[in-house]
Symmetry: C2
Subunit: 187 residues, 2 copies
């Protein structure tokens, strides 16, 4: 792919029950759009992990799911390990109106993408190397993550083949065409 | 904007309680990424409408929110009115690996984008003029809608100015910078 560094997504502010589906979507999008790992801050329902695990088993590839209890210290630790911290927020530099994406790509570093729920601690804006807005309108952290990754990878992530999949879709104009992969089939 | 036709989003299969947040995100993404209207099939919680209404009041622009009881007949009616029906599904033609987006743009018609929940009636695949996959991996209808619109509008939707807004964000590298718009200020 065009951008070859490691991508980790940190999901802040999960609220039990209320955010169960949204956090599941965040994890699925991270995987499908080419990130290597999703990290949830705090306690997340078991069902979120189970859905992500099942999708990885069925649809393939190595994708990590983890939890941290202190997201701010996790962000600082990533920074010490050479990651650039990209916080997606409607208040940040507009990805369409600024050169922020070019600057991020030029760094050629591993990236920690941070996405929040409604309220994000002020500290996050400071620790972040880049506060990036996928437009300056309120919408969805799921959408923001997807569009950021789609632009970072220049769309190539949607053509990626996932290894070790049980199933694969043969794209179709009209039908659901799913192929069950043979045992030992690697692709 | 590059693509100037009318865009309506039809959200199928909302499940009460379970999909409350996801359907809200769908509506917010439709608005923020340049669609003109969201139509929910079936009963949706009052809180979903209230959130969307509040966002339109605060952040501007004319965005419609409606409900239909029979989504299949609504799809057929749109078709009779000259809309092209684009159903976003992981089983469809891959937007990255095919020329499906070019074909849609070339039609130069109004578009009804249909997005479902987990199970979509087979009929939808048949009524649709295009079944389009934002990648052939499972992820999120919110992400699919955002990336489809971002590609359809070539990113210009994220630079759009919303009229009649109470608030506007001044993009910032580090701070939350929100401006309260003056009375009578149109932009």
């Amino acid at each position: 792919m065009f951008f070859k560094k490691r991508i980790v997504v940190l999901r802040l502010g999960h609220r039990l029950q209320r955010d169960r589906r949204v956090s599941t979507h965040v994890g699925l999008v991270a995987r499908a759009f080419g990130a290597n790992k999703i990290v949830f801050a705090g306690i997340v329902e078991e069902s979120v992990y189970e859905t992500l695990k099942k999708v990885c088993e069925d649809w393939g590839d190595d994708f990590g799911v983890e939890t941290v209890t202190n997201p701010l210290s996790f962000m600082r630790q990533c920074k010490r390990n050479g990651y650039r911290i990209v916080h997606l927020t409607m208040y940040g530099e507009n990805i369409q109106l600024s050169n922020v994406l070019d600057r991020i790509i030029k760094e050629n570093a591993d990236i920690l993408i941070v996405i929040g729920a409604e309220k994000v601690p002020a500290e996050v804006y400071k620790i972040a190397d880049y506060n990036v807005a996928i437009g300056n309108q309120p919408h969805s952290e799921i959408a923001a993550l997807a569009v950021f990754l789609d632009r970072l990878f220049r769309g190539e992530e949607l053509a990626k083949e996932f290894t070790n999949a049980r199933y694969r879709i043969v794209p179709s104009k009209r039908y659901k065409n799913v192929v069950r992969m043979g045992v030992g089939n690697e692709s």
